[in-house]
């Protein structure tokens, strides 16, 4: 990063200057310390309960003992189906917005506006909506399918926005060049634009997975509480985050297993977000190079 910072700032040492530095430094230190404490507490509480058999074992005694094997499988299934449901409409919407309509036209503004509005909906409201629409109206019941459809609605705006900005940041001369070569719209999108924007789209998908994995409120009343091994998408399956909530709130002496589950969730989220960040950095580098 280029330093845009007057050197004279660091040469003068006035009392006010030092005071502001101390205040700001304290604020930064308190922020990092407080949040570092949270992470440390989770590691301290969770690590003793963590083992291979915890990760793969069945849930016994409502989670007080045993492991989280079925929970991890349910979580993976919810994530997988959510991605399968959200990727087609999100990509289609973003491609339509970026390639098919004029920027700022009425239709484009209505669609982007309502997608942005969707982004502002609190997660508990997604839960309430998912319960009444997917579980009850569509008759899917408390199931992995209901949960993943609810999550798909929730991460849709994120995916539309990241795909849209990936498409819009492509070099502008790609499109007239493709047209001049006589490529059809479908070929241009499928063979030129999407492959070029793929790294940016992957960043969006990774971020979406992170959001979905962290989500609890939208899942409690859609994917349900069952702790057995899920056999089909229409089974009820408990997500990892819901498991933590249930152990901490409703199961006496559940906090040991809850800390270990929280630690597992935290590690997964950090891995996913780091992946997203490094993908984004690579995408950025390639773009500034070209």
């Amino acid at each position: 990063m280029v330093s845009l910072f007057p050197a004279s700032f660091t040469r003068t040492r006035r009392p006010g200057d030092i005071l502001l530095g101390i205040a700001g430094g304290l604020a930064s230190a308190v922020t990092l310390l407080a949040l570092g404490c949270i992470l440390w507490d989770l590691v301290r509480l969770g690590l003793p309960h963590l083992s291979w058999s915890f990760l793969t074992g069945e849930v016994t005694e409502n989670g007080r003992s045993g492991g989280i094997g079925p929970i991890l499988i349910s979580t993976l299934m919810i994530l997988g189906f959510a991605l399968a449901f959200v990727i087609p409409p999100a990509l289609g919407c973003a491609i339509w917005l970026s390639e098919m309509v004029r920027q700022g036209s009425g239709a484009a503004r209505i669609i982007t506006g309502s997608v942005d509005l969707l982004a502002s909906v609190p997660s508990i409201v997604f839960g309430l909506f998912g319960m009444s629409f997917f579980c009850q109206t569509l008759g899917l019941g408390f199931s992995i399918l209901s949960g993943s459809l609810t999550l798909a609605c929730m991460i849709l705006p994120l995916l539309v926005r990241t795909t849209l900005s990936a498409l819009q940041s492509l070099p502008a001369d790609l499109r007239p060049t493709a047209s001049a070569l006589g490529l059809s719209g479908a070929t241009m999108i499928g063979k030129i634009l999407l492959p070029a924007a793929l790294p940016g789209i992957l960043v969006g998908i990774t971020l979406g997975v992170g959001r979905a994995l962290a989500e609890t409120a939208a899942l409690i009343f859609t994917s349900g509480y069952a702790t057995r091994w899920p056999e089909s998408p229409s089974d009820s399956g408990r997500a990892l985050s819901v498991h933590i909530y249930d152990l901490a709130m409703n199961i006496p002496n559940g906090s040991g297993a809850a800390s270990a589950s929280a630690l597992v969730l935290l590690v997964l989220i950090v891995l996913i977000n780091t992946t997203a960040a490094s993908l984004a950095a690579r995408w950025h580098r390639r773009h500034s190079a070209s």
């Binding site: 910072f5 430094g25 098919m100 309502s114 309430l128 609605c153 994995l213 960040a277």
Partner: protein, 289 residues
């Protein structure tokens, strides 16, 4: 562009997907309104503000006082912002004007990592570590204070990161001009950088408010969930989101309709906040052009 049949097919296919994406929010609003309708029909709505207690499940004497829950939401959010905004903004000033670039990058990475910590994990930490601490200070521990602190810590990385971005976007030329005029660091921060970065910082804080009002998990685990007006920060509270989360599993008839009404209210509130932000941004951009 050629208009072959496949292109028309593609265009209409993509248009359908875009329409589908755009209609999700309408579907949600429709379901919320439909769900809230019975409350309007039964004339329960005014009782949200007139009744004294919240006992919607009672057969003999159902009461629907929602105001204490609204107060709970507002108080928890205010407390969270009071914690997150000063720390986040002061930290961002330090980050931009004091920290050497190498440490600044580390600081930013750490904050990004912390911004991803799931809310249920914050709630769990609050329940197992913070609540016992507050309980030792003043029972019961599950309180407005606990909820405010947990929520404040949760939104702190967001406030800090958006403030950093806003300060970074202030053109370096302005800072150099200030230095050239003999302004010191403090004067530059308060008279040049902060006024220029204010729209971005305010936007970050408003986004944090929207997130705090809509947050459920981090709050429901530590707030005690008693539907009364709190008399002090050590009293239990019950925000609107917690009420929905705790009761939607078993609510029926008027009670259920009220939960939908509460959800509709949440959507309108956070939609208004985000819409206002977009409007402000549009106006700022128009002013710049």
């Amino acid at each position: 562009m050629s208009r072959s049949r496949s292109d028309i097919l593609l265009r209409s296919g993509l248009g359908t997907l875009a329409g589908l994406s755009g209609s999700v929010v309408l579907l949600i609003l429709f379901f919320l309104v439909a769900g809230a309708m019975p409350a309007l029909r039964d004339g329960v709505l005014p009782r949200l503000f007139l009744d004294e207690f919240w006992q919607p499940g009672s057969q003999r004497d159902p009461q629907y006082a929602l105001l204490p829950m609204l107060a709970g939401s507002i108080l928890v959010t205010v407390l969270a912002i009071l914690i997150a905004a000063p720390l986040g903004i002061a930290g961002a000033i330090f980050h931009r004007f004091y920290l050497p670039p190498r440490f600044a990058a580390w600081n930013e990475h750490a904050l990004e990592l912390l911004a991803g910590v799931p809310s249920v994990v914050f709630g769990f930490w609050g329940l197992t570590v913070l609540v016992p601490l507050i309980n030792r200070l003043h029972p019961p521990g599950q309180s407005l204070l606990a909820a405010g602190i947990v929520l404040g810590l949760m939104i702190l990385p967001t406030v800090a990161l958006t403030s950093q971005a806003a300060l970074r976007a202030v053109p370096g030329s302005q800072l150099f001009a200030a230095a050239g005029l003999g302004l010191g660091r403090v004067a530059t921060v308060f008279h040049i950088a902060l006024p220029a970065a204010r729209p971005g910082i305010v936007a970050g804080v408003i986004l944090a408010v929207a997130r705090a009002v809509g947050e459920t998990m981090a709050v429901v685990m530590v707030c005690g969930n008693i539907a009364k007006y709190p008399q002090s920060v050590f009293d239990s509270v019950r925000p609107v989101t917690a009420t929905i989360a705790l009761e939607m599993g078993y609510a029926t008839s008027s009670h259920k309709a009220l939960l939908f009404t509460a959800a509709l209210f949440l959507v309108l509130l956070s939609g208004a906040l985000v819409g206002w932000l977009a409007f402000r941004k549009g106006k700022n951009e128009a002013a710049v052009n």
